[in-house]
């Protein structure tokens, strides 16, 4: 099986380049995932660099651009991919090395969304109550694994990574706005005012298309916009 993989080591390369790799058919097993193949290729050439950890799609380490589409290598079946398989780092982020990108901007925007519960009431001795229906509002939001597949496939985030929060951070913004226990609705909405942080979303929906967890940031962004509209009326 043939691969074409983006290589760049600033320690020795002046320019990035694409390198061809071949994985022996004998090493391929039914149900093999792309990450398994990458680990085999790394055994052949240990300079090939990428992040990985859980191998089952929950840690969010191995986001990369796979045949032109962002995804997680560990839950992408090899058999689903056209060869030669072209692997590149996630788009529009500074490349540290090979498939490893610098996610500083992504994490900065995540922090800017105040991704934590704010509740200033005295703490009860037991749990705060939340009905199953209220809790259900968080489904499809809290499962985000911060792999950055969505934000790095979003043209609005490419153009304004410092001003537009991006789909992942906005999904978290809505996760807390939607939480019956959170009391900071006004603060959260105030901070999203203006033309960039929220409103740069043009519903291109690449985020929905690529999310490996099947989440829908575009819908969450729409809900925030609705809430803002309601508040201004």
């Amino acid at each position: 099986m043939r691969f074409s993989i983006y290589r760049f080591d600033p320690d020795k390369d002046s320019q990035p380049y694409m390198q061809d790799y071949v994985l022996d058919e004998a090493k391929i097993w039914p149900g093999m995932m792309l990450l398994d193949a990458l680990l085999e290729l790394k055994a052949q050439d240990e300079t090939l660099s990428f992040r990985r950890s859980c191998q089952e799609g929950v840690c969010g380490s191995d986001g990369m651009n796979i045949n032109g589409r962002n995804g997680l290598a560990c839950i992408t079946p090899l058999a689903s991919l056209k060869t030669p398989i072209e692997l590149r780092p996630m788009p529009a982020q500074p490349v540290i090395r090979d498939l490893i990108v610098d996610l500083t901007q992504f994490y900065t925007q995540y922090r800017a969304a105040k991704p934590y519960l704010i509740n200033e009431d005295p703490e009860p001795e037991v749990e705060r109550l939340q009905s199953p229906a209220e809790r259900e509002q968080l489904d499809g939001l809290y499962e985000c694994i911060l792999c950055a597949c969505c934000s790095t496939s979003c043209p609005s985030f490419w153009w304004n990574p410092d001003k537009f929060l991006g789909p992942a951070a906005l999904l978290q913004s809505w996760r807390f706005l939607a939480d019956s226990r959170d009391q900071a609705t006004d603060l959260r909405l105030d901070e999203l005012e203006g033309p960039f942080k929220l409103f740069r979303c043009h519903t291109i929906m690449n985020c929905v298309e690529v999310c490996p967890k099947g989440l829908n940031p575009t819908r969450a962004i729409g809900r925030i916009k609705d809430l803002m509209l309601k508040r201004s009326m």
Partner: protein, 587 residues
């Protein structure tokens, strides 16, 4: 050698649940905390915990902490320290409520309280009917907890060193811990972090075994750092094999599946756990269920063309329950097996899962060693919590739902003790340059450009040796061969080299350092297993099938120096209640 230096009150190594719970406690107390993690915090392995965290909230069925304590002592096969177990079980409701206040999206009951499910080894009234003690956020509880803890640390402005790899602890000749040498992975630059106290929270070593449920980062780095600093590891022979990993692949299928009413079937369609555990059946302790599956397969009653696994059936639960309570494992099974567990049973087999042993600590998280004044003298400035530590609350076998509890309770307890310590020790001790040089030597060893062995090749061999020689069932001969083989691999590792010498994000070098760590822990595990000539909890010796409380109700301590074994008594006296004396363990 002059290296860049940073100074903090406390250095925490590891950003899983234990490290982050401690960091939060310390940041909120306005200590200066640095958290060093080789991966971005939310990539830590706590994220993969599924089923939930145990606490006697009594939201579903009557419950109290004393019953939880009994189950944990019994589950540990009486090797757990009863003071620490009492402390953990009493603290459990409080730490879970704290999590809820932090924003963890627990599943809810109709009355709005936290949802709790049944899990293995749980009972009401000291061995009576099944309890429902495991607080869950669907089957993504670890993810929900880890993300919430990270988020609260953002709010508390904890200082993170993301993607820094800890090389070694720094100590002065008197044995005080002064900090650690760490490596910034992105640049390849070493950094000395000085701290008045250091907390190791680096997790387990599931990568010891070829088929495991663990992330690739679980290489026991903190345990190996402790060994190299002259600290022994405790009870390393006790390694948990989870009964239900996906057969041949290893992905974890939560015990919550059986807690929700799923059960195991052999090749004859028989619900075989009824024979092994007439009362608890599929919710017996993990060691019991793993041995049962292994025995069924060995005796020819496995499933599939090769009769090499059993089936976990949950299709009778209905699509709604599966979708609502077990969405994560449904997704995993669909992804990796192309089948829907709401319709088709899952092929499962026991899979390496959890390191019960680790760095010996007391219930305040202080690392304790046998030195001048008895078997448990604190190492000044050093703490450990979570899977890398051995308090010991899990003894010879951990109960499902107690690992998330362990990291929360003892992460918090260690932080509280550190806060007291910081008040008494206001200044950093002088740095010891010899210690820095030694740690640097470990790093520069991998600069060599030729050799005869590869890191990847040795790791694969090591994992195979451990699987074949230190698995579910063990005996003298197999273990002796195992020790010899690991010793040989360790010798061959001296001839290993890497081809990548770039300074930038050099993952080959990190994997080499991880292999060294795994090698130390493999030796600790297989040597401790050889010496323990009885069967207790997860350690099953077919040549010594009975538990031997007279000779072996004691903790093992493995020293790296000379591969020496040492022992210390189990703390059987709880804090405030009567001890639970050892009894025959039936489920």
């Amino acid at each position: 050698m002059s290296l860049p230096r940073r100074k903090f009150d406390t250095l925490i190594i590891g950003a899983g649940g234990g490290g982050l719970r401690a960091a939060l406690q310390l940041s909120q107390a306005e200590a200066r905390v640095a958290v060093v993690s080789k991966v971005f915090p939310t990539r830590s392995h706590t994220v993969a915990a599924q089923g939930g965290v145990n606490a006697a909230l009594a939201n579903v069925l009557p419950d109290n902490w004393h019953w939880h304590m009994f189950d944990t002592v019994k589950g540990s096969d009486y090797l757990g320290d009863q003071d620490a177990i009492e402390y953990m079980c009493r603290a459990a409701p409080r730490v879970v409520y704290e999590l809820e206040h932090m924003g963890v999206p627990f599943s809810r009951l109709d009355n709005g309280k936290i949802y709790q499910r049944a899990f293995g080894g749980q009972s009401r009234n000291f061995g009576g009917d099944q309890a429902a003690r495991t607080c869950a956020a669907a089957d993504r509880t670890g993810h929900a907890i880890l993300h919430s803890l990270y988020q609260q640390n953002i709010r508390a402005r904890t200082h993170f060193f993301d993607e820094f790899f800890a090389i070694d602890l720094l100590r002065d000749p008197e044995g005080n811990v002064l900090g650690a040498l760490v490596l910034e992975i992105a640049t390849g630059e070493p950094l000395v972090i000085e701290a008045k106290t250091v907390l190791l929270a680096t997790g387990g070593a599931g990568q010891l075994f070829r088929t495991n449920t663990n992330a690739l980062i679980n290489t026991g780095d903190g345990m190996a750092m402790a060994l190299r600093a002259g600290i022994p590891l405790q009870d390393m022979e006790f390694f948990q094999f989870h009964p239900t990993g996906i057969a041949g692949k290893g992905m974890l299928i939560t015990e919550g599946v059986r807690g929700e009413g799923g059960y195991l079937l052999n090749g004859e369609g028989e619900r075989f756990m009824e024979r092994y555990a007439p009362k608890a059946k599929d919710l017996a302790s993990r060691d019991v269920v793993s041995r049962a599956i292994y025995t069924e397969v060995r005796e020819g009653r496995g499933c599939g063309p090769d009769k090499d696994h059993v089936l976990l059936k949950l299709d009778h639960l209905g699509v709604d329950v599966v979708a609502k309570r077990l969405p994560g494992i449904r997704e995993t099974v669909k992804t990796f097996l192309y089948l829907d567990p709401a319709e088709t049973p899952i092929p499962v087999y026991p899979t390496a899962h959890y390191t019960m042993g680790g760095i010996p600590t007391n219930r305040h998280g202080q690392v304790v060693v046998p030195e001048h004044n008895g078997p448990e003298e604190p190492v000044l400035g050093l703490y450990a919590a979570g899977e890398c530590a051995c308090v010991s609350v899990h003894g010879a076998n951990r109960l499902g739902g107690n690992s998330l509890l362990d990291i929360l309770v003892f992460g918090r307890a260690a932080a509280n003790h550190i806060i007291g310590e910081l008040k008494q020790n206001r200044y950093h001790r002088p740095m010891n340059d010899d210690s820095v040089d030694q740690a640097m030597a470990r790093l520069s060893r991998w600069d060599r450009r030729d050799g005869s062995e590869t890191v990847d090749g040795l790791k694969r061999e090591l994992q195979t040796v451990m699987e074949q020689h230190c698995g579910v069932f063990r005996n003298e001969e197999i273990l002796k061969e195992g020790v010899a083989k690991v010793v040989e691999l360790e010798a061959r590792m001296q001839g290993a080299y890497i081809k990548d010498h770039s300074k930038v994000f050099n993952t080959a070098r990190i994997e080499a350092l991880e292999l060294e760590n795994l090698m130390d822990i493999a030796l600790a595990t297989v040597c401790s297993a050889l010496e323990r000539r009885e069967s207790r909890g997860a350690h099953s010796r077919v040549d010594h099938p009975e538990r031997d409380d007279v000779h072996w109700m004691r903790h093992s301590l493995f020293h790296k120096d000379g591969r020496r074994m040492d022992y210390k008594p189990v703390r059987i006296k709880p804090i405030s209640v009567e001890p639970f004396p050892p009894k025959k363990r039936v489920y």
